[in-house]
Symmetry: C2
Subunit: 453 residues, 2 copies
Amino acid sequence: MSDQIKFILDENRLPESWYNIAADLPQAAPPVLHPGTGEPIGPDDLAPLFPMALIMQEVSTEREIEIPGEVRNIYRQWRPSPLFRARRLEKVLDTPARIYYKYEGISPAGSHKPNTSVAQAYYNKQQGVKKLATETVAGQWGSSLAMACAMFGLECKVFMVKVSFRQKPYRKALMESYGATVIASPSTETDAGKAILAEHPDSSGSLGIAISEAVEVAAKDADTKYSLGSVLNHVLLHQTVIGEEALLQFEQADDYPDVIIGCTGGGSNFAGISFPFIGRKMRGEQDVKVVAVEPAACPSMTRGKYAYDFGDTAHLTPLVKTHTLGSSFVPPPVHAGGLRYHGMAPLVSHLLEIGQIKAQSVHQLETFQAGLQFAKAEGIIPAPEANHAVAGVIQEALRCRESGESKAILFNLSGHGHFDMQAYSDYLAGKLKDYEYPEKEIAMALAGLPSVG
Amino acid sequence: MSDQIKFILDENRLPESWYNIAADLPQAAPPVLHPGTGEPIGPDDLAPLFPMALIMQEVSTEREIEIPGEVRNIYRQWRPSPLFRARRLEKVLDTPARIYYKYEGISPAGSHKPNTSVAQAYYNKQQGVKKLATETVAGQWGSSLAMACAMFGLECKVFMVKVSFRQKPYRKALMESYGATVIASPSTETDAGKAILAEHPDSSGSLGIAISEAVEVAAKDADTKYSLGSVLNHVLLHQTVIGEEALLQFEQADDYPDVIIGCTGGGSNFAGISFPFIGRKMRGEQDVKVVAVEPAACPSMTRGKYAYDFGDTAHLTPLVKTHTLGSSFVPPPVHAGGLRYHGMAPLVSHLLEIGQIKAQSVHQLETFQAGLQFAKAEGIIPAPEANHAVAGVIQEALRCRESGESKAILFNLSGHGHFDMQAYSDYLAGKLKDYEYPEKEIAMALAGLPSVG
C-alpha cells in the first residue's frame, strides 16, 4: 500500500470514455413514460428539449461512451482530479480505517458540476443550438453551465429559485460574470411562472417550479434547448469520469475501497464516484459496499415511495420511476440546497431497489459538525452538500475504531464550501437546527402522485 | 514545445528546498534598522515576535533552505500546483504569444498564502509557541493562517480591519470555521487600538493599525508570536516553492518564459513566482523580463519613495528600506484589498532599484475587464488582486499581436475570486470606478517619513 497522501494522474491518463452502468445492470431500469399516454417515450419525444447525441446517451446500453476530444481538452484544466488519503483526519479520529477522498472542488466552478455542463454545452453546440435554458437552486449548477456556455459561445438563461436569487447574490454574480442571464423564478417570462404568481404572488420559488420554467422556454423556442444538472442518465454518465479516474488512482495507491460513500440530492456526484465500482461489483470482479447519504429533512431514498413521478411542479417533464417525496413537496430550508429535491436519479433508485447500494439519512447539525472536523484536519472546507458524505464517512470510521477493522473508505468531496460560508457562520452562531421528518407534507405530496406505471 | 495545456508534477517532484534570492544578489539589500537607534537590528531584537528559525531565514544568505518534511507533507495536498497553458485565452486575444499561468487557487484557502502560513505555523510549533497573532484585510491571509494553526494545534488570533470585518462576514466565517478568534481592528484589546479609538471612535481601521495591534499582542505575551503574510524575507522565501515548481514544469513544457508578470501588494506572490527565475538571470544562466503590476490607486513602486519606513501605523515595527507611500497613507477602497499596502517587500524594492525587475500600475476597471475576459475563456474567475497580473498579461499579449512576436508569458494566478463576487457584482452593475492618483494624501504621508537611513 502506498504511503503517499495524494494520487494524481498525468493528463494523458485522463479516461477516454465515460462508463455507462446500463450495460451491466442485471435488469434494466423501468422505462421513462409519456405523461399523456402512460407509454414509454422514444427519442423523438425528447428532441425539443435535448440534442440527439444526449438523447442517445440517455437510452444507450453501450458500456463505454467516448468522451469527445474537445470535452477532454477542457476537462484537462482540472482533471484528473486528485485522490487524497485523509491521513490527518484518520489521526484525529484515531481510526484504523484508511480514508480516501476524491476532490472535485478544484474545478473552476468549485464543484463536480462542470463534468457534465461542459459535455452538454459541447453536444448542443455541435447540433447548432444557440442557447441553453436551465434552473438552479444554490447556483452550483447554474454557474457551471454558465461557464461551459461561455467557453462554447452559447447563450445561457438560468432560472434561479427566487429565495436563492435574493439570498445568494454571489452565485448570481458568478453566473453573470460568465455572461449568463439570471432570472428570479417564478418569473413572468413563462406560463408556468405566471400561473404560480397568479396564485401565490409572493412565492419564493422552488426547484420544481424553476425546472418548469426552463423546460417551457426550451420547448417553445427552436434555438433553445434545456439542460439539467443531475437526475438524468446522461448527466450521471458524464460524472463517471470521477470514478473512472479513482479506479486508476487506487491502482497507484495499491489499495481498493471497501466502502464508497456519496451524498445524494439528484444523484449525480454519487453516481460519478460509485458507478464504475458498482459496475465491477455487478460484473463479479470486486465487491464493494456503496452508501448514499441524504438529508433527514429530504429523505427520498430512505422514506420516499418508489413510484412514477414528475420531475417538476408544473408537470411538464416525462414520468420517471424514482424514490419520491412527491413533486409538490417543498423540503425544509436546509443549507445543503443542492440536496433539496423531491426525487432521485432513476438509475440510483433502481440500484437501491435491486440491492446494489444502501441509503441512510443524516441530520443537518451532524453534517456541519463533520464538515468542520474535516476542515480543521484536512484544510478543505466542504460544501454543505458534501458534508453529508463526510458525516457518513466519520460514522463508518468510528465504527472501524470500535471493531478494529482497517477498512478503506472512499468518498466524493464534490465541492468546496467557499460560496457557503453563510451556512457555516449560522452554524457557528448556533442558528442552525435539525428538522423533524416532514411527515404530513410528504404524505400530502405523495397523495398527488400520478396514477400511471 | 509541448502541446499539453496542463503541466503537473508528481508529488515526489515537489521541491525539497525554498530558493533564497539573497544568495544571488549582486549587492545586499539595505539592512533593517532599529527605530530607536537607527542601527541595524540583530536576530535577538526580533525574538519577541518570531521563532528563531524564521529569524535565521530572514537573515540567511544560503541559496537553498530545506523545506521540513512535515511542511512538505501538508504542501502535498495542493502542491505541486498546476502550470497551465492558456490556449483558449490566446485564441480569444488572437495573439502569437504563449501564455502560461501557475494556479494557486487550488489550495484549501483558495490562494498562495498557505505556502507560508503552514511553514510559519510549523516553526512556531517547533519552538513551543502556543498562539499566533496576525492581521488581515480581505481575509486571504487570516484564513490561511487559521487553517495552518488548526493543523498544528495552535491558537490563532486575527485582527481584521474593521471595514472588512463588517463587509466580509464570509471570510470571517472561514477563519472561525478553522477555529480562529477574529477581532475587529481597531479594538480595545491593545494600547494601539485604544489610542486610535480615543482619537477616532468611528475608525474603520487599516492594515497599518491592525499590524500594530497584532505586533503589540505578540510583544506582550511570551506564549504568543506574530505572523505576517507578506513583505518579510522569510515569507517571500516560502513562496518561492511556486517558482521552483514552475522551473520544472517549463522543462516539461520544453519552453521558458520571456516575460514573468505578477501582481504586487506586499510582494509575496510576485516573489514566489519570479525569484527563482530572477536568480537564474542574476547568475547569468538565462535572461527573463520580470514585471510587477500594482494598482494605480496604491502605486508604491511606480510613484512611491524608496526610503526607510515603518510597516505599521503605530510605528511598532523595525524600519525597512522600501518603496513607500508613507505608513500613514490609507489607500482608496479598491476591491483588490490584498494590494492596499503603503510599502513593498524590501527584497522586491531592492530588485527594482538594481534594475532586475520593472513595475507598472493599472487602474481598477481595466483589471476587472481583464479578469472577466480570462474567466470566460479559461473558466477560472481570478481574485481581484490577480486581475492586476491578468491585465498586465493581456497588455503584453496584445503587444505581441501588434509586433508578431511569439513571446512566452508566465503569470501567477495567485487565487480564485470565489470570495470576491461582491466586487464582480459591483463591476457588472457599473458601480466600480477608477481612482485619481491620491497625490495630496501621499505627499502628506511621505512628509511623515522617519529621518533615518
